[in-house]
Symmetry: C2
Subunit: 398 residues, 2 copies
Amino acid sequence: MPKLSIRAHKMPASPIRRLVPYAEAAKKQGKKVYHLNIGQPDIFSPQEALDAIHNYEEQVIEYSHSAGNESYRKGLAKYYQSIGINVDHTEIMVTTGGSEAIIFAMLACMNPGDEIIIPEPYYTNYSGFANEAGVNVIPITSKIENGFALPPITDFEKVITDKTKAIIICNPNNPTGYLYSKEELYQVKELALKYDLFVFADEVYREFVYDGEEHFSAMKIEGLEQHVILFDSVSKRYSMCGVRTGCLVTKNKEVYQTALKYGQARLSPPSLGQLAGEAALKTTKKYFDNVYNEYIKRRDFVIDALNKIEGVFAPKPKGAFYSIIQLPVKDADHFCQWLLEDFDYRNETVMLAPASGFYATEGLGKNEARIAYVLKIEDLEKAVKIIEEALKIYPGRI
Amino acid sequence: MPKLSIRAHKMPASPIRRLVPYAEAAKKQGKKVYHLNIGQPDIFSPQEALDAIHNYEEQVIEYSHSAGNESYRKGLAKYYQSIGINVDHTEIMVTTGGSEAIIFAMLACMNPGDEIIIPEPYYTNYSGFANEAGVNVIPITSKIENGFALPPITDFEKVITDKTKAIIICNPNNPTGYLYSKEELYQVKELALKYDLFVFADEVYREFVYDGEEHFSAMKIEGLEQHVILFDSVSKRYSMCGVRTGCLVTKNKEVYQTALKYGQARLSPPSLGQLAGEAALKTTKKYFDNVYNEYIKRRDFVIDALNKIEGVFAPKPKGAFYSIIQLPVKDADHFCQWLLEDFDYRNETVMLAPASGFYATEGLGKNEARIAYVLKIEDLEKAVKIIEEALKIYPGRI
């Protein structure tokens, strides 16, 4: 029998997946499981997008342009211009989810064996995309004590080699909820100019910024226009993860043209997803206000409630809808499994994502977990109560 | 400014793309252009699929399972069983078009630097996917004289090295329209067993088989179950290329699980495409009969008409909706460009795909072009007339 590739053996399985069989077993036993582990919001998709699907008029569902429908790209350009990002439709390439934008950028900018620096904890799938592109992730550790702010630039410089080609900045951050400031981004700029690096800016949570803070896009860093590649997605903005519609945005023509060659090989991004994405551009301010208010309520509730549990520390996220929380346990991987396998409170339990999977450095995050506050307040209330009760009797508590 | 990757520079641009600006310029001059160059059929998508889109009931367009919705996979399993391919839904992974299935298979089975053998001329995008996966395509030349039958097995053996990991068999073939026989597939089996190779079977044109011939799937090769990975797509079967829904099918559990890890990294295939794909499983026999009759008519017309032109040779394809035709010209790349740039017949012209782009061996296919007979008979009639008139005055004629 032919053997699998070595890279396939190295391909990391999602840290959340490991627990899925335990969650399934818990459900089979009749336990209700609150999922704080995933970023699938329960918010309705905009009616504008749903209507566009219902009213789809074509009789042949054709390929679109490999860079996406021009009308959609023009609409996206208007959206970006409205938030102060000065791009036109020829600088936007529609991709199959934000995921594909990341892969195309890695393929276009990095050789196999090249290195990409990512502040950890980071979105796990970056490791998967790096595996596909044959590039190595070099983590720089950010700390829960300061809410996962940008690590000192000297930390970056320590690991830069002649193989370093890019940095990923996910802002607001998944999994930490941290919002990088303009000042931090300008520190990244200096680094990128000094060492001639690409800056991959993952800003899919741009609209989820709280407490009057303002999101500063990497696309607005003056003098870094040729270095920045923006990844975006409609998944979270409009709560329609399933359409698989994202985009890659860059003012670097060479990068754009090269990414497009990869885009041409896969022919086109999904036509129906683009239909929904274009219609969603008409989403009302009222929709976003409702979503915003809902997430603020959820965040405020869940962070306050978690911090009231003895031994738990949950930094208040300024963006996105995640938080990495510290737990009074020796091994959060074990705790999360135990919650599903051995614990229930009134026949209910909680699924969390152990944070170790978001760190590339072995041994970090062992007493941390990521929560996504994508559930209704009533459910969050029950979930927090379950965590509280669980910690009272969990044998691995410290 | 940071430099692009070396692989990006090696990424082949689609051979058809080179001519796109010329086609656009021709249209701007007011010329009508008949597109025989692309595989975008004008056949309507099944009403069942369109209805499913119109009646979409969800209010949150959620991620699906990374392997695709179970109900859809169960439906696909039934479809495969109905055509004698014995698989269940745990052996089917839904992908974003057939393209993604190919990339996942390459990533799972091949290391960077490994080699994949493909009979040429072949579907150009295989080269793009190979670039992404960092693997090298080793072409084996098939010949127009015998309609592009499988080259002798000795030709394969000559190029096999310890880096050879897989063979791609596209059946029915794009771009040649050739239908591989059961006997030919059993020759491939011997080779795969002898050298321990994966067999990547691209069978997206399975339903397009003519003249009472029967398609024999590589999945039916006895004793090769652990070697075969099937790529499939709804794009051509149901004329809905834009939904980006395909699948990877294999009885090799290890390959499946590994491909799934790559699938998990990109979260899920498009949800709306799956909706259309599942509904399309109910497509009536009448729909397929109509499509079949239409393509037979088109093929018979266009092949007969082309062969009547002096110096043109068009082998009669037994499947798919393409043919590689021989032209009495020195350089088909130039001829195809000239058709767009310098020629018109009553203000109309034709766009063909020069065949050189379908060969990996430099210098082959210089007097060949691929046609896709995806247009109405009236249009095909005009297109052939244009080719005939063009060849009368083309300066590079031999």
